[in-house]
Symmetry: C2
Subunit: 228 residues, 2 copies
DNA sequence: CACAAAAGAGAGCAGTGCTCTTGACAATGG
DNA sequence: CCATTGTCAAGAGCACTGCTCTCTTTTGTG
């Protein structure tokens, strides 16, 4: 939570206690999220667990949605950290390994924190509109993926239609990559997220008994195709 | 005429009214689902809309989850119908067109019924366990996709690990296709669902302004790769 | 027609997010 | 040193939710 830096510069005892309590509420919420899922996350239950009145929670989070926002940002940052760490652990020019590492990091995040994964990559919570603060953490994963792609300098044709259909992405890459190659990167992103989501949300039931084997095979094939 | 009066007889007036009311409740629920999303679907609101007591709904659906199950089955059958129709509209040996038609049918379903799409392909509702009745409608889409793949008789290597990782799927295809080729089909399924989900759940915001162009391009490229 | 089965209505329980008011406390200015 | 000010927690209460139970009405059929 970004604490208001505009208030008294003192940052005394009071501010510290407030920050600690805010963190504790978020921790309790995370615990509940992991145990029960997003929709059954209850402010009253959090208050109960913390031994305080439910109304007191509102001193720290003005609404349930604000708490959700905090959890969503945390989740995005969690997977972002993992992905960037996996990327950094590889030799910068070994695009194949970087791609593989990133893909596996995303899946591992999903396996470790299924509810967090569902929170950010599943159906959006109805009535909840993601505020601006979430987009910076949210783009970390695709940015990492696209950076690897750009670094690999892949071949690919031009396409005016594709170019303007992906205008935002093209701007981000500084037009240092052709639209067709960039589209291949988005496709790869889609395949990664699609395979993980199908697995996490139960669509592999009775069909694929060992999703890890399939995923690793698919990512190897995908990396061959997309980078180098 | 043999009169078996003991079992459910003739299905007279009463049974018809019951079937009609059940359908009407489901219709009202669908309307609410489309307007507000799954989590804010309220039995009391449905009862209010129909001008009956909330408790009366329970004569038709024993619980909210049962209503959800009905809606989920409907959604699966909706997309299943579309997909099978799109497939049947193509020349059976034109695998490229069949694949493209199926992929576009899934995306069109998502665009037409975003909440239904989220219901079946988004995060599962916590605490809700899909009963057996949902799996038959659920597999219609992947079955259609895999059937096209098998028909296309694609090349591909063997892999014992992959073979047993996808044992269920291999059985379904009658082992008439190699594991590597089948995996390619699952990857294609993943890419289709991944791209649609990323689009539907807002992850293309500010990056891809015209998802239709990207999707069509991706599917063309994908079809080239997977069939024929 | 009589009667059992089916359907509807209403009250009630435990839970939810959220608001408003009230009282307690700590930090600070005169 | 006391009074003011801002912060915090608590409690009651509102409008909801899913669901159960009981009671009454309706209705098809032997």
């Amino acid at each position: 939570m970004p604490e208001s830096t505009v208030t008294k510069p003192a940052q005394g005892y009071r501010a510290r206690v407030r920050a600690e309590l805010t963190a504790e509420i978020k921790a309790a919420a995370t615990r509940q999220l992991e145990a029960e899922g997003a929709t059954s996350l209850s402010l009253r239950a959090i208050a109960r667990e913390m031994g305080m009145a439910s109304s007191a929670i509102y001193r720290y989070f003005p609404s349930r949605d604000e708490l959700f926002t905090a959890l969503i940002i945390d989740a995005y940052n969690d997977v972002g950290d993992r992905v960037e760490a996996a990327d950094a652990a590889c030799a910068p020019t070994n695009y194949h390994d970087r791609f593989l590492g990133v893909a596996k990091a995303i899946r591992q995040f999903a396996l470790d924190s299924p509810h967090q994964y569902a929170l950010i990559y599943g159906s959006p919570i109805p009535g909840y509109k993601a505020p601006q603060d979430t987009i910076d953490p949210a783009v970390r994963v695709p940015v990492c993926l696209m950076t690897i792609l750009v670094d690999a300098k892949p071949k690919g044709g031009k396409s005016k239609k594709l170019d303007q259909a992906m205008a935002g992405l093209m701007d981000f890459t500084g037009h240092s990559i052709t639209p067709v190659a960039l589209a291949r990167g988005v496709q790869a992103w889609g395949e990664i997220m699609g395979l993980i989501s199908l697995e996490m949300f139960g669509h592999f039931e009775n069909a694929i008994s060992d999703p890890a084997v399939l995923f690793d095979h698919a990512m190897g094939e995908l990396a061959d195709r997309v980078v180098q």
